[in-house]
Amino acid sequence: MATDAPLLRVEGLRTALRVDDAEYDIVTGVDLDLDEGETLALVGESGSGKSVTALSIARLLGRNIRTTGGRVLLDGQNILALSERQMRALRGRDIAVVFQEPMTSLNPVLRIGTQLAESIRRRPSTGGDIRTRATALLESVGISQPDQRLDMYPHQLSGGMRQRVMIAIALAARPRILIADEPTTALDVTTQAQILDLMKARTDELGASTLLITHDMGVVARYAQRVNVMYSGGIVERADVRSLFARPSHPYTRGLLQSMPRLDRPRAERLPAIEGLPPQLTARPEGCPFRTRCAFQVEKCRERPPMLQIGPGHEAACWRTREVAALSGSDTAPVPVAARAVQ
């Protein structure tokens, strides 16, 4: 199995924003593999290009943004070359998307049941009438009184419930790939926990793969098997989830993990913040995009570093990745703590 081609392969993806007569790359050449049944996290801060990468894959880019290069292979077929009609058939059926704000993707003037039915019809029936299946779907995402909710409009539901409906709609056609773009960022932490647990349970049942876009390293640790870290339009590190947290090997990943206050560590006096700001789209430094904020910066960083292997399936785009990786171990050793005592 391990040598099989991935379910979805992204190669050299470039997506650019058009401003007046100039085009600026938001995504600067992303490679990414999504395997059968796995959850792959794409993490990064706002402006890193993680959402645009996801939208490029689903071909749901807004005006003034277009993919200028690369391939997205599903079953060996480049979906970037499909006609819009073919793509529409594929979306929903093979690839479904859940966004941060359900109100932007739910139709405010259509009842929940109508919107679910549309999605159910994408996959020829496996028995049962549509209303029965819609009710079962709502129930499967933890919505009480599902039969009554089918006749409601989106605004009659709470934010958490709308996101549950979105997940039900996304999974109605039994897609092979779910792209979830910050699906719970706007929700409270208790609702977030319930919805992500549920999303995981339902995709596991379907055997679907999930591309989870998030900025939250806690969410990554809980739900992902593998992680790709994005910074300023490119992937700077990729690894299986344990390896990434145990041995962050790009200075940005390391900085990100260190700068968060953590419930599972003794309270730090001061947070080791990453100084400065991410570069603007129009003013990326040449070479490594992180070098202007990087404590490890050397002359060589003016040249763009390739992905360098640091362990099995673990690589980082940094000239000094071995030194960065070697720093971990002593200072990231877990300490028994409050949050654990809660259990």
Binding site: E45, S46, G142, D188, V189, T190, T191, Q192, A193, Q194, D197, H215, D216, M217, G218, V219, V220, A221, R222, V241, R242, F245, G255, L256, L257, S259, M260, P261, R262, L263, D264, R267, A268, R270, L271, P272, A273, I274, E275, L277, P278, P334, A338, A339, R340, A341, V342, Q343
Partner: protein
């Protein structure tokens, strides 16, 4: 010897009219105090009333009932006019620096505004010096003074908002989700800035946030709010070591921990928590550790 708190809230209620006619208790019978120089964290979900409470304490929206004492003086009974000279002691930092900074004003005039209104600094030269001093305190270059808010990033805008808040050397700052919209790497910079300034200037802080890890990092004591009421209040250490209200435990359970080894074997039950109003009365279960009973009120 006990210190006099900067601020004491007694039985604060804030009601908003509702279509049913009975009104909604956004904040209900809240009691708390904030000591000089300390940070009180206030956590709760959206709609729990934490921002409403913050605004009611500062008299930005007057509470429906209850008293707020600033340095022992009841400010709830004061007219707006009488209150004005006291406002300099209490300032606010908002979540969204984008909408809380006037885009037509230069950074210098935004920061100078409270100084001018309070008549705290006389003369243009002195005002300019104070603005430069404040920019320096929030680690912005003096060249920022002549520029406009939209020329700055989110983190830099929050520095401007903080400079404005500390301009009059307040005794209390209410920071309402002040770092919530910032990316992690920038968030750490602003948290560090706030703690540095607090150590230097000695103001007390009511730090309102929904991120437990952030609140634990900055707060000495933490109040947990649920449906308009405080359900638990304790020192930061005690709250995390011995969370005692079911809602507090649910919050802790729900927070994802950035450690895959831990998450892989974690047992939790976030869905079991019963969402209902808990009694407003708090019981002291250990010195300084207060908890609302987890049985529902008789009336409900």
């Amino acid at each position: 010897m006990t210190v006099q708190p900067v601020l004491v809230a007694e039985n604060i209620c804030k009601m908003f009219p509702s279509s049913g006619g009975r009104g909604i208790h956004a904040v209900d019978q809240v009691n708390l105090h904030i000591n000089p120089g300390e940070t009180l964290g206030l956590v709760g979900e959206s709609g729990s009333g934490k921002s409403t409470l913050g605004r009611a304490l500062l008299q930005l929206d007057r509470p429906t009932s209850g008293r707020v004492l600033l340095n022992g003086t009841d400010i709830t009974a004061m007219s707006d006019r009488a209150l004005r000279p006291l406002r300099r002691h209490m300032q606010m930092v908002f979540q969204d620096p984008q909408s809380s900074l006037d885009p037509r004003m230069t950074v210098a005039s935004i920061i100078a505004e409270p100084l001018v209104i309070a008549g705290a600094v006389k003369g243009r030269a002195a005002l300019r010096r104070r603005v430069e001093e404040l920019l320096d305190l929030v680690r912005l270059p003096t060249s920022a003074a002549k520029r406009y808010p939209q020329e700055f990033s989110g983190g830099q805008k929050q520095r401007i908002g903080i400079a404005r808040a500390i301009a009059l050397n307040p005794q209390l700052i209410v920071a309402d989700e002040a770092v919530s919209s910032l990316d992690v790497s920038v968030q750490a910079q602003i948290i560090n800035l706030l703690t540095d300034l607090q150590a230097e200037l000695g103001f007390a802080c009511l730090f309102i946030a929904h991120d437990l890890a952030v609140v634990r990092h900055v707060a000495d004591r933490i109040a947990v709010m649920f449906l308009g009421r405080i359900v638990e209040l304790a020192s930061s250490e005690a709250l995390f070591a011995e969370p005692s209200h079911p809602y507090t435990r649910t919050l802790l359970d729900a927070a994802p921990i950035p450690d895959p080894e831990f998450e892989a074997t974690r047992q939790r039950n976030v869905g079991a928590f019963v969402r209902r109003r808990y009694p407003a009365e708090l019981t002291e279960i250990a010195p300084g550790h207060f908890v609302a009973s987890d049985v529902p009120e008789p009336s409900e």
